[in-house]
Symmetry: C2
Subunit: 198 residues, 2 copies
DNA sequence: CAGAGTACGTACCGATCGGTAACATTGTCA
DNA sequence: TGACAATGTTACCGATCGGTACGTACTCTG
């Protein structure tokens, strides 16, 4: 997977301090919320020290932005993953993602979408966290429109927005209600909406 | 409106410190986020002092819980308001609320639902903010089920959850995308989902 | 008018926040 | 062996965090 020239032998934990910080920050920011986590907690749990953090990142805000860019990348991978099983079938692709999301979001302990959460934690449009997260959401919206176009929807942009509402609703409802929350119906509702929009 | 025995003459701003704190906290918590606002900022903007805050509220967490209870009350009023124009017509009632929400959530500067935001800011299930917000959402879910039952849906609980996803999705999408975001289609999507579920 | 109770402000607390300076230590490769 | 880059160590900074001990002004009642 990795492409580094000659990494090393034992790969128990990420060796470089910057990577350990990045991974630890990812977990803590996602699970506990960004504002709730201080840099001290991050370096402690990562097993490094504060100067190492500030040698790799200009500021906490920059670390937050890096976290959200990482999150966006992992999200894109997860969203596009079903295309392997459903090439040239955007509807099946989308429904496969939606079904997986429905299951994940209906389990206890689900924490929603890190990008959505970031928009809510940082409503200030000038904050880097807000900007990175919003840009990712705009990409998702455009991607949904693209898929709705290829599946021949009557009004693709409209349907895309409808699906967007269902998906975002699943993210937040998933963490409000635990097991058996509204996200359980995401699959059937997406199908119903798509069928009624062709 | 008020029922206090003999308040006074001029009612320019709330006279009691506790009320001014409550009102100011409401605005600040809602607009900027709960964790982002310190007690100092609240008392400054309210024109009172910190001891006044802590005489009226046990802790910041208690003030947060009070804010969320206030929010829940105002939400319920807003949600039930259309019943005046549409008595004994749950579908029209619900659609009236949904249309108003759609407009509000498609405007710039919209900040979503304070209760939803609180769940995201406080993922810890033991935190009072989380508990108050989740309880309010459970009430909403039950209310939606009730309405879907009275409108004769095929599977009322299922439809209620679908509508919940659309509504929650509008809350968060409204603050991610400003003017012209996905929330603009909330009305048509709700209708489409209801019609396809009867 | 005395006195009590209520309502509020001044000034301060220790803890934690994000962030840094100076220096010692380690591992790697030439 | 020696140089360099990366990391750790320690100690610290000013600002802000949530929270409080204590004094003071007002008002209502007798």
């Amino acid at each position: 997977m990795r492409s580094k020239p000659s990494p090393d032998t034992t790969t128990e934990t990420p060796r470089r301090a910057a990577d350990r910080i990045r991974d630890t920050a990812f977990d803590l920011f996602y699970r506990e919320g960004i504002r709730a986590v201080g840099v001290e907690e991050i370096v402690n749990q990562a097993g490094v020290t504060k100067p190492s953090l500030y040698r790799a990142f200009e500021s906490k805000d920059e670390l937050i932005a890096a976290y959200l860019r990482d999150y966006d990348q992992r999200f894109c991978e997860r969203f596009e993953a079903p295309s392997a099983e459903h090439p040239d079938d955007p509807k099946a692709h989308l429904l496969a993602y939606v079904d997986r999301l429905s299951r994940r979001a209906s389990r206890d302990g689900y924490r929603g979408c890190g990008l959505t959460n970031a928009v809510i934690e940082y409503p200030d449009h000038d904050h880097p966290a807000h900007q990175v997260a919003v840009e990712s959401k705009q990409n998702l919206r455009e991607r949904l429109r693209e898929m709705c176009r290829s599946m021949g929807a009557r009004d693709p942009d409209e349907l895309a927005d409808g699906l967007m509402l269902l998906i975002e609703g699943s993210y937040v409802s998933g963490q409000t209600f635990g097991e058996g929350g509204p996200a359980r119906v995401l699959g059937v509702m997406a199908r119903r909406l798509i069928d009624a929009s062709m």
